[in-house]
């Protein structure tokens, strides 16, 4: 009964919170975009610097999403909380999308600087590996017919991945310095001007709000999807054959 009560309360709560969340995300995003366009263009990069205002928040969310999944996985494994699994499952495709966005914008941003679409620099490569880990999680989820049975295996994989992230990051950095990086371009230039920093911060907040809104909406969908499934199983088992 407790297991059913929690998602029910979540559905009621999220229904009233969600519109405000969407509105807040849209509002802050609008402010962020205005600030970004009014920020001075970089003397080196010109207008392409605008890509930064999408790229950096996306990269930030790519990592935060995984943290959400890892935290939820602890909830699944330790407390077996049904909402924890729903949260992790809803976050994975969103995380994959933001990671993909970070990769694409990184590539677009880098093109004028590097002269190629892609360089195997430590940061981009780490994000690519993160993307692959997201795809692995999604694939494992989809391999199970019954979402309830997928919860714990996926939680274990997510936590194993979480523990591995620092190791992967360290090895990729080491691999990259070993091989004389092809480019000296860095995303976190140490001298970021305050006139750029403010719009960037606002955009980061906007993206975080956007993530929260999408995440809550996706969780609602996931809960509804599971209810439909449960109702179907119930309907099939209580079916009284005609005749």
């Amino acid at each position: 009964m407790l297991e059913f009560a929690n998602p029910t309360r979540f559905m009621a709560l999220s229904r009233s919170v969600l519109p405000w969340l969407w509105a807040a995300a849209a509002g802050v995003l609008a402010i962020g975009l205005v600030l970004a366009f009014r920020a001075p263009a970089d003397y080196q990069q010109g207008l392409t610097v605008l890509i930064m205002y999408i790229h950096v928040p996306s990269a930030w969310l790519a990592m935060m999403c995984y943290a959400v999944i890892a935290t939820s996985s602890v909830g699944t494994l330790v407390w077996r909380h049904p909402l924890a699994d729903v949260s992790a499952r809803a976050a994975a495709p969103i995380g994959a999308c933001f990671t993909f966005l970070a990769l694409v914008t990184g590539s677009l941003w880098g093109k004028p600087m590097w002269g190629t679409w892609w360089v195997w620099d430590a940061r981009l490569t780490s994000v690519l590996l993160l993307f692959l880990m997201y795809l692995g999680l999604i694939a494992l989820w989809r391999a199970f017919d019954d979402p309830a049975r997928a919860a714990r295996p996926v939680a274990i994989l997510a936590l194993v991945g979480f523990v591995n992230i620092p190791i992967i990051k360290f090895s990729v950095d080491w691999w990259n310095t070993l091989h004389q990086p092809a480019s000296v371009f860095r995303f976190d230039g140490p001298t970021i001007d305050p006139s750029m920093l403010w719009p960037l911060m606002v955009m980061a907040v906007a993206f975080t709000l956007l993530f929260l809104a999408i995440h809550v909406a996706a969780m609602r969908n996931e809960i509804l999807r599971r209810r439909v499934r449960a109702m179907r199983v119930k309907a099939a088992s209580t079916l009284v054959p005609a005749e």
Binding site: D145, R232, V233, A235, A236, L239, P241, A242, E243
Partner: protein
């Protein structure tokens, strides 16, 4: 129409399952196969369906459609149900309806095929049509398998313990189906351990132990 087997023998996995087996099934007739486990009931059905090799003897279907292979006259419902869990119930059935249909053979069956939703209704699982097959229970899967018999008209039915997992209502459904099939000139072979409430000839397999073949006999 007449299905005959003469002096049939079958070897599986180096073991002689049966030999010197004769049977004859005429139109409108039901032959029930009885016998202990391992006597070769399932093997005989697979043999007739062309799914196992005949070691000796011959199998003939008289009065079938010319130029159409024997196995295309046959409906086979075995232990495996050929149901894809990822497809919906009606998608599963519609697939087999299209694949198993054949005009010349259908003309011989003396009874028209019905469309998949109607067949599901007839088997009492009509309301489940659009559900994924993954959520069906064992009995419902069996009903879906048996619904194949209705969506394509074929004159010869081979049913391997078709009552397995069926409740009394499902069994009644099945017996009515078989009865209609026989009365419209079809013929059926049913391997079973329960008594069928239908007039039937009986072929009991494995009455005498087959003698071990010389080459598998221990030295």
């Amino acid at each position: 129409m007449k299905l005959t087997g003469r002096d049939l023998a079958c070897i599986r996995g180096g073991r002689l399952v049966f030999e010197a087996l004769d049977f004859r099934v005429d139109a409108g007739m039901l032959l029930q196969l009885r016998g202990r486990n391992g006597a070769g009931k399932s093997t005989l059905l697979r043999l007739i369906a062309g799914l196992a090799r005949i070691a000796e003897g011959e199998l003939a279907l008289e009065g079938g459609a010319p130029d159409v292979p024997v196995k295309e006259h046959i409906h086979y419902v075995g232990h495996l149900d050929a149901i894809k869990p990822a497809l919906s119930v009606v998608e599963n059935l519609a697939f087999w309806a299209r694949l198993l249909e054949g005009e010349e053979v259908a003309a011989l069956a003396g009874r028209a095929a019905i469309d998949p939703p109607a067949a599901l209704d007839a088997m009492g699982i009509g309301p489940l049509a659009d559900f994924p097959a993954a959520i069906l229970s064992a009995g419902q899967r069996r009903r879906l398998s048996l619904a194949r018999l209705l969506v394509a008209a074929r004159p010869v039915w081979l049913l391997d313990e078709p009552t397995t997992a069926l409740d009394t209502d499902g069994q009644a459904c099945l017996f009515a189906m078989v009865e209609r099939h026989l009365s419209s000139g079809g013929l059926a072979l049913i391997a079973t351990h329960v008594d069928l409430p239908l007039p039937a000839a009986t072929l009991t397999l494995g009455v005498r132990q087959p003698e071990p073949r010389p080459e598998v006999e221990p030295a």
